[in-house]
């Protein structure tokens, strides 16, 4: 158990040889995930034509940028030992509000900060309820989920197209590396979020407090850490990143719809956990979450390339791949202990 409960090892070199070995051991879950991911990609390349195209790999990023952002927020929450079920609904609410306002002729420069603010406020509210009233995160964020979905449904039950020029350009802007090889702006935004998040977690007082709370909230309190403030902050961050994810999703879909991002909370949680973060908190890395998102994305890519799976076989095969991946990951990390 101990090898996974480690803080991120900063880039500074460690001197003594036995220390180096120990430091590496903490990275084993992440390394194992990485290796298995490579293996899965290799299997895809071996089995399907065109799978080796660079764009197939880049598409995994393009198609999952919003999930990456949302999962990054979820990582903060789970590291404190909490959970945020509202993320999918906040994503949907963001798309609906953005689409509605843009259609009403509001300028993008106003809509963008506004929707981010709405998500942040929702997150702040949930965090405050969780902290001040000692309500279980599961319930508080479930209520948040109903609330956000309910609001978006109330605003408009139809799907609303977005035609705003800024949105369209963000949606269709491609950063090209060669003919037919590109990523979207969303990918860049997502990567910036991940890097910033990883920095905050590893190198700031706030980030370390997040880990401390996940390790033992009572102790953290007695150690004089700002537990309440930090706990509220992680839900606020998650709310903000959900809204940002919602913006990215609205770039991706160019529409707002109350049923967007159904079940995204589970995808995000799954990505975080597959990436090696322990649900009870206190251990794991944001980089692991990135890998988790890639695993989910790659599974989906393989399914589409297979192209012969009926609806139910799609589900079964997703389950089988997930199972194989997780069990292998588990065995690899266990063996090396």
């Amino acid at each position: 158990m101990t090898d996974v409960k480690a803080p991120p090892q900063p880039a500074v070199t460690v001197t003594a040889p036995h220390k180096r070995r120990r430091a590496d051991r903490r990275h084993i879950p992440v390394l194992a995930t990485l290796a298995l991911l490579a293996l899965m990609y290799g299997l895809g390349v071996a089995n399907y034509d065109n799978f080796s195209d660079t764009q197939v790999l880049l598409n995994v990023f393009v198609d999952n940028a919003f999930l990456l952002v949302v999962a990054a927020g979820m990582t903060f929450v789970i590291l404190t030992g909490g959970i945020d079920l509202s993320v999918g609904a906040v994503v949907a609410l963001t798309t609906v509000v953005a689409a509605t306002l843009l259609n009403d002729g509001w300028p993008a420069a106003l809509v963008l900060p506004l929707v981010l603010l709405i998500g942040t406020t929702l997150g702040l509210g949930m965090g405050a309820v969780i902290h001040y009233f000692k309500v279980e995160p599961f319930i508080a964020t479930l209520a948040g989920m109903f609330l956000a979905r309910g609001l978006s449904l109330l605003i408009n039950r139809n799907s609303i197209p977005i035609t705003d020029p800024f949105w369209t350009s963000m949606a269709q802007e491609r950063i090209r590396f060669g003919p037919g090889i590109f990523i979207s702006t969303s990918v860049v935004i997502a990567l910036v979020v991940v890097l910033a998040g990883a920095f905050v977690l590893a190198y700031t007082r706030f980030g370390r407090t997040v880990y401390a709370i996940g390790g033992n909230a009572d102790s953290a309190l007695l150690m004089g850490l700002p537990v309440g403030r930090t706990r509220i902050a992680v839900y606020t961050i998650s709310g903000f990143l959900s809204a940002l994810g919602g913006v990215l999703l609205s770039f991706y879909m160019l529409s707002g719809y109350s049923l967007h991002a159904q079940g995204m909370e589970l995808d995000a949680i799954a990505a975080v956990v597959i990436g090696g973060v322990i649900l009870t908190g206190g251990s794991g890395y944001l980089f692991g979450t990135v890998l988790g998102v890639l695993v989910l994305g790659l599974i989906q890519t393989i399914i589409t390339f297979q192209g012969t799976l009926s609806s139910w076989w799609t589900r079964i095969v997703v389950g089988i791949l997930l199972f194989a991946f997780i069990v292998l990951q588990r065995l690899v990390t266990r063996r090396s202990r």
Partner: protein, 343 residues
């Protein structure tokens, strides 16, 4: 008196009563129960009847949560169990045969048991985090149910099978009787054995319980198996109720409602102390909430919002900190006029 107010189920019970009473303004005969065609008929009966699958699933979920786990696959297990039973009955030469139906029910429950074993082994033997371990079956299980039914709704016209979910015995819905029996059996088993304290110990502190010699593995697997079998029975009630198996709709999102019911009932998601009565109350509360939205005619667009408001009220009412904040303001001047700390 204060003992009642202090009881942790007091506030959910209050919310339940308020919800039910609020119906009367929209449907004056809400509390009327009549005897119709030899069975009880009325909105309260509907509330109980529609709570049955959820109550069962919540019961199983309670045990899993008590061990410190969570089971997302219950909905899929419901779908599988319903599908298997309906397929089996559909193939019977005589759908009315009680033996055939019993066989179908047995088969469905055995499959549910296997599903529970699968979850339990993944969690406690292989050591996968419960949420992911059960996510696998949640995703794949519904696929399996759809595979079995070919994505179609399987209809049966088997009177004995109908009894489970839509029948009445002694004027009481059979499904309610089934749930009452299962709950009573569970409570009895836990009271009469040492299961309760052992499970709570495992959930509250796995390390300490290991060092106390508790075999957590068996208990954990047992909890998942129990949850799956409960879900299996729930699936049978669900499909029997409409005499068909709908692999797509059966138990869809029920895991969320079940977890909600468990938490409303006072069992913490972190494991340890659990309350079966609380979970059942939670399930009835959620079912009453659904029926209330229909009765008072909340528009479909605002149903979710309405639900959110009730859940918020509920969790605030249960929060001691919130009550303290509200009551202190009222009480402070009366008890200690000056010296009290400004909060």
């Amino acid at each position: 008196m204060t003992a009642i107010v202090k009881h942790r189920l007091f506030w959910p019970a209050v919310v339940l009563v308020l919800l039910l009473v609020s119906n009367v303004f929209f449907a004056p005969r809400f509390f009327t129960i009549t005897l119709q065609d030899g069975h009880l008929y009325g909105s309260l009966i509907d509330v109980l009847r529609s709570a049955t699958p959820l109550a069962l699933v919540a019961l199983g979920m309670t045990m899993v949560i008590a061990t410190g786990g969570i089971d997302l696959s219950v909905g899929s297990v419901m779908a599988i169990s319903g599908a298997v039973a309906c397929l089996f009955i559909g193939d019977l030469s005589n759908q009315g045969s009680v033996g055939g139906v019993l066989l179908a029910v047995g088969l469905a429950l055995v499959l549910a048991l296997v599903a529970g074993l699968w979850n339990g082994v993944l969690v406690s033997v292989i050591g996968i985090q419960p949420i992911i371990a059960t996510l696998i079956l949640m995703v794949a299980g519904r696929g399996i149910a759809q595979l079995l039914t070919g994505g179609q709704i399987i209809n049966v016209s088997s009177p004995p099978f109908r009894v489970i979910g839509a029948g009445y015995a002694l004027a009481i819905p059979v499904s309610v009787i089934i749930v009452a029996v299962v709950v009573a059996a569970a409570v009895l088993l836990i009271r009469r054995s040492a299961l309760g304290v052992l499970v709570e110990a495992v959930g509250a502190s796995p390390t300490a319980s290991r060092l106390a010699g508790i075999r957590a593995r068996g208990l954990t697997i047992g909890a998942y198996v129990f949850a799956a079998v409960c879900a299996g029975i729930a699936g049978l009630i669900f499909s029997s109720n409409v005499a068909s198996a709908d692999s797509n709709a059966a138990g869809n999102l029920i895991e969320l409602d079940a977890i909600l019911a468990v938490v409303i009932g006072g069992t913490a998601l972190t494991g340890g102390r659990f309350s079966i009565a609380g979970s059942v109350l939670g399930a009835v509360l959620i079912s009453a909430l659904d029926i209330t939205t229909y009765t008072i005619g909340v528009p479909a667009e605002t149903t979710l919002l309405f639900k959110a408001v009730v859940v918020v009220i509920l969790c605030l009412s249960q929060s001691a900190a919130f009550r303290a904040a509200v009551f202190r303001r009222r009480r402070t001047p009366a008890v200690t006029p000056a010296a009290e700390v400004p909060a």
